[in-house]
Amino acid sequence: MKHLIKNPQDFWAGVMFLVIGLVFAGVAVTYKIGTAARMGPGYFPMVLGGILALLGLAIVVSAMREKNAGPAVDKFHWGPLFWVLMPVVVFGILLKILGMIVMGLFVVIVSSIASHEFRWRPVLLLAIGLVIFCSLAFVAGLKLPIPLCPSFSVFEQIAACRV
C-alpha cells in the first residue's frame, strides 16, 4: 500500500475531501431534494458534496502517480496543539461561570506551557497585566457583556429550569 502513495500530502488531502464530500452528500439526501426549478434544501449541498467527493477522488488518484511525487506529511506536534487549544475550550465552557479574571489568567498561564522556555515569574506578570488590560479595554471601555467575576447564578438558572 505504502509504495503506491507517491505524494502522501496530496493523498491524505484527497482522502479528507472524499470523506467530507460523501458525508455532506449523504446527509443532504435525507433532506428534501426537489427539482432544479424548485430546489429543496438538499439539492445544492448534494451536488456540491458530490463534486467535492469527485475532486477528492481525483486528488487521491493523482497522488499515486510517479510524476506527482511529493514530500511526506510533516509530523503532527500534539504538544502545542493541546496546550494552545485546551485552554481555549475551557475558556469557552467556563467563562460564564468563572468570569474573565479567572479564565484570562488560566488561558495565558496554561498556553504559555507550549513555549519552549516556560518560566513562572514572567508568565505570571504577563497574565496579570493582560487580564487588567482586557478588563479595562473590553469590559470597562467597550462595554462588552463579559462577566468579570465568578458567578454561580448560572447553576441557579439551570436548577430553576429543572424545577
Partner: protein, 501 residues
C-alpha cells in the same frame, strides 16, 4: 463633476472628528499587527470585530479597512528590518529591503516604501472612486443567473491566482461553500447539518472560522519550531532619500502602482500577486538585473507600491458587487452583515455616506500611515525585539475574548478551537486556507442565486448561457481555466511561485 461632489461628501464623512479618530486607531493597530509576527490581518480583523460593535457602521468599516492597509504597510517594516515578512504580501520586499538594511540604508528603504505606498494608495483611491460607480450601476442590471456566473468567475480567478495545487484549491472552495450552507435554509426553514445542536441553527460564523484557521492554526505552527528573529538594525537613521533615489524610483513606483491596481481588482490576487509581479517586472526592465537581491532600491519601491495599490483596489469588487476578492474582504462582508448592511451594488445609492466615506478614508488612512510611521519607526523597531513566547498567549486571550463577544456564544469559542485543529491539519496537508474562506462567504449567496435563476427559467440550465452577461462571464471562466491548464503556462506558474517562496 459628480466625482468631485461625491468625493467631497466622502471627505466630509471621513474627516468628521470621530471617523478620523477611528481611522487613526485602525491604521495604528494594523501597523502594530503587521509589525508583529504570527498574526495576520484576517485574524486581527476577526479579533477586533466585536470592538467595533459600539461604533456606527461607517466608523466601524473605516476602522477595519484601516487595520487592513495598516497591516500591509507594517509588514514591510518587518521585511526590511528583520528579513521576515510580517504579511505574505511583503515577501518580496525582504529580498532587497533587508539587503539595503544590512548595507546601512534601512532608513532609506523604509522611506521609499512609505513614499511609494502613499503615492500608490492615492492613485488607487482615485481609481476606486472613478470605477466603482459605473461598475455598481452595471451590477444593478445583473439577474440571478448573471450573479451566479459572476461568483463562479470570481472563485475560479481566486484559485488560478492562488499558489499550490489547482485542484486542491478548487476542493477547498467547494468545502468552503458547503460549510457556508450549515444552518437554516432560508427558503424551507430546514436546519441543515446542525447535528441536532441548537447553537448551529444560525450556521457557523465567519469569526470562529477566521480565528481558528488563520489565528490558532498559525500560533500552533509557529510554536512547532522555536522562532529565532535577528534584528539587524538597532537604530534607524537617514530617513530622507536623496534626489538620486527619487529619480531612480519614480518610474518603478509608477509601474508598481499600475500593476498593483490592476491585479488588486482580480479575485484572489490582491496584494500578494501585485507585489510579486511588480518585482519580476522591475527585474526584467532593469539595465543590470544582477543588482536585484543585493539591495536594489527599485526592488523595494515597486513591490511596495504595488501591494498597497492592490490592497486599495481590492475594495472595488466588494463595494460594487458584494463579492470578496480575498479573505480580508470576506471578513469585511461579514462585518457589513453584522452591522446590518447588505453588501452589493445597492450600497452606493442606498448608503452614499458609507460608500464615499470609506473611499475617502482610504486616502486619509494612507496619509496617516506616512505621518505616523516615519516618526514612530523607533517604536516599531523596539516591538520587533518582543519575544514570541510573551506574544502568543496575549494573542490567544484576545482571540478568545473576541470570538466569544461576536455573539456572546460559548459555542463559537469551541468552534474556533475546532477550526484551529482543522486549520493546522490543512497546513500539514499543504492545503491553502484562503479559498475556503471565500467559498464560505459565497456559499449561501451562490445557492440563493442558483435557485432564483432556475426558478425563473423553470429549471432550464440553459439560462446561464443564453443571458449575454452570464454567458460572457462563464466564457471568461472557461478561458481562465484553459490558460492556466495549458502546459506552458502551468510550468511558468509553478516556477513563479517557487521563486516567491
Amino acid at each position: 463633476m459628480e466625482l468631485l461632489a461625491n468625493l467631497q461628501l466622502g471627505f466630509g464623512v471621513a474627516l468628521a472628528g470621530t471617523n478620523i479618530l477611528y481611522c487613526f486607531i485602525g491604521v495604528l493597530l494594523g501597523t502594530l499587527i503587521g509589525v508583529l509576527p504570527g498574526i495576520g490581518p484576517v485574524a486581527t480583523i476577526a479579533m477586533l470585530l466585536p470592538a467595533t460593535f459600539v461604533l456606527p457602521p461607517v466608523s466601524a468599516l473605516i476602522m477595519l479597512a484601516g487595520i487592513y492597509y495598516g497591516a500591509s504597510y507594517g509588514g514591510s517594516t518587518t521585511a526590511i528590518l528583520v528579513n521576515l515578512p510580517g504579511e505574505v504580501s511583503s515577501v518580496v520586499t525582504c529580498l532587497d529591503g533587508y539587503q539595503m538594511a544590512r548595507q546601512g540604508h534601512a532608513g532609506k528603504a523604509l522611506a521609499i516604501a512609505a513614499i511609494g505606498s502613499f503615492f500608490a494608495g492615492s492613485v488607487a483611491t482615485l481609481l476606486v472612486a472613478a470605477f466603482a460607480p459605473p461598475l455598481a450601476e452595471l451590477a444593478l442590471k445583473f439577474g440571478p443567473a448573471d450573479y451566479f456566473s459572476l461568483m463562479v468567475l470570481g472563485l475560479i480567478a481566486a484559485v488560478v491566482l492562488a499558489h499550490g495545487s489547482l485542484i486542491k484549491a478548487v476542493a477547498m472552495i467547494v468545502l468552503g461553500l458547503l460549510v457556508g450552507l450549515i444552518g437554516t435554509d432560508v427558503n424551507s426553514g430546514v436546519a441543515r447539518y446542525n447535528f441536532g445542536l441548537p447553537e448551529l441553527i444560525d450556521g457557523v460564523g465567519i469569526g470562529p472560522i477566521a480565528m481558528g484557521v488563520f489565528g490558532f492554526g498559525e500560533i500552533i505552527r509557529n510554536l512547532e519550531h522555536g522562532q529565532k528573529r535577528d534584528v539587524f538594525v538597532k537604530r534607524v537613521t537617514g530617513l530622507m532619500p536623496t534626489m538620486e533615489d527619487m529619480r531612480l524610483t519614480a518610474f518603478p513606483i509608477l509601474r508598481g502602482t499600475i500593476l498593483g491596481s490592476a491585479l488588486g481588482i482580480l479575485p484572489g490576487g490582491g496584494p500578494v500577486l501585485g507585489s510579486f509581479s511588480a518585482y519580476t517586472l522591475e527585474k526584467k526592465l532593469a539595465k543590470d538585473p544582477s543588482r536585484f537581491g543585493k539591495g536594489a532600491i527599485e526592488g523595494v519601491a515597486s513591490p511596495e507600491s504595488a501591494n498597497n495599490a492592490a490592497a486599495q483596489t481590492s475594495f472595488i469588487p466588494l463595494l460594487t458587487l458584494g463579492i470578496p476578492s480575498n479573505p480580508v474582504m470576506a471578513l469585511m462582508i461579514g462585518a457589513m452583515i453584522i452591522h446590518g448592511i447588505q453588501p452589493g451594488p445597492q450600497i452606493m445609492t442606498a448608503k452614499p455616506d458609507l460608500f464615499w466615506g470609506m473611499i475617502a478614508s482610504m486616502w486619509v488612512g494612507n496619509l496617516l500611515l506616512v505621518v505616523l510611521n516615519l516618526p514612530l519607526i523607533g517604536m516599531w523597531v523596539k516591538l520587533l525585539t518582543l519575544e514570541y513566547r510573551f506574544l502568543y498567549p496575549a494573542i490567544l486571550l484576545f482571540c478568545c475574548i473576541g470570538v466569544y463577544s461576536i455573539n456572546n456564544a460559548w459555542m463559537d469559542v469551541l468552534l474556533a478551537a475546532g477550526f484551529g485543529v482543522i486549520g493546522y491539519t490543512f497546513g500539514k496537508l499543504n492545503c491553502e486556507a484562503a479559498p475556503l474562506l471565500l467559498g464560505f462567504v459565497l456559499g449561501p449567496m451562490m445557492e440563493e442565486n442558483l435557485r432564483r435563476a432556475l426558478l425563473l427559467s423553470r429549471g432550464d440550465p440553459l439560462v446561464f448561457v443564453t443571458r449575454p452577461i452570464s454567458a460572457t462571464l462563464l466564457v471568461l471562466s472557461v478561458l481562465l481555466l484553459a490558460i492556466v491548464l495549458a502546459p506552458a503556462v502551468r510550468k511558468k506558474r509553478e516556477e513563479a511561485f517557487v521563486e516567491e517562496e
